[in-house]
Amino acid sequence: MTMLNSAIRSGAASSVQTVAAAFGAFLLGAFILFGVGFAQPQAIHDAAHDGRHSFAFPCH
């Protein structure tokens, strides 16, 4: 119980802040992954080519 309290106190201050931070992370993470794994402009495709194949993103 004390552990739970300390977690709430020192960790995520408010639930609004927690949710905002988590969704910020989701958005940024999804944006990065889309750019690296899925975006099709030739330059991005070429640069990310070997990584895409290795991670088994559909590449071309």
């Binding site: 988590a22 910020g24 993470g29 991670f55 559909p58």
Partner: protein
């Protein structure tokens, strides 16, 4: 905002760590096969240089191609355009791949760290390993069961359809895993299982005839190596996220 910053730093560390490890392992597993497969890729698209020189069937023609080095007697495979020929090209390709892997690591780590924050279950390096297993199932295994990891030069359905199916498989598997792991209500668990199975029931897009140029043995080896590398990557990523998020959530390591 400071919470987001701490989350970001945690994901950054975990992503860089796992992305670096993946780069090292890929260097000896998947990348050599990709380079090898690109030799087949060129043949399937169009003969790159000098179609005229193929017409005289003289056994020992010493004609000069534009590419200089590629004057093989038999008209077979030429190096693909992208296959590095100089050390400089090879180095550039290497660092671009490393950068890609780091970004993949950071991107996935952001998703995992955000989810850890929302779920609020206690995490540490060992529990993070279970999260990593979940990530591997959702983002590597589930998509790969419909769309096996593909080499350059392999036949495939239209790219956009495959990308959409890949995303659907990953997303549905994620939803299913969360339902199974955290839902209290059995109906929700059951719904999660159904959702996870849905893309596989619909089926991944495949071409009408499988007419790839890559030898099947090579494709099989690549599929296994790609999944194996992904497993290592995810184990490290999950574990590192767990360790880093333990600090962010401010939890001293007593039992839960």
């Amino acid at each position: 905002m400071t919470l987001f910053r701490r989350l970001f730093v945690a994901a950054l560390v975990a992503g860089v760590l796992s992305g670096t490890a993946a780069s090292v392992v890929q260097r000896v597993t998947t990348v050599p096969l990709i380079l090898e497969a690109e030799r087949y890729e060129v043949v399937t698209t169009s003969p790159p240089v000098a179609p005229t020189q193929l017409t005289p069937a003289a056994p020992a023609h010493a004609g000069h191609d534009g590419a200089g080095h590629a004057a093989h007697p038999a008209p077979v495979r030429e190096l693909g355009e992208a296959v590095p020929e100089t050390a400089e090209e090879a180095f550039q390709r290497l660092w671009l791949t490393v950068a890609t892997n780091l970004l993949v690591g950071i991107g996935y780590a952001l998703l995992v760290a955000g989810a850890m924050l929302l779920v609020r279950a206690p995490v540490d390096a060992r529990r993070g390993l279970v999260w990593g297993l979940g990530g591997f199932i959702a983002f590597a295994l589930a998509p790969a069961t419909g769309l096996p990891p593909e080499l350059p030069g392999m036949g495939g359905a239209e790219l956009e359809a495959r990308q959409i199916w890949w995303l659907a498989a990953a997303f549905c598997a994620t939803a299913g895993l969360f339902a199974v792991a955290f839902a209290r209500n059995r109906l929700v668990v059951a719904a999660g299982v159904v959702v996870a199975a849905l893309p596989h029931l619909v089926g991944a897009p495949h071409p009408e005839s499988a007419a790839g140029a890559v030898p099947p043995e090579m494709a099989a080896r690549f599929a296994v190596l790609s999944l194996g590398t992904a497993a290592l990557f995810w184990a490290l990523l999950g574990s590192a996220c767990g360790a880093m998020m333990q600090r962010v959530l401010g939890r001293p390591d007593e039992e839960a």
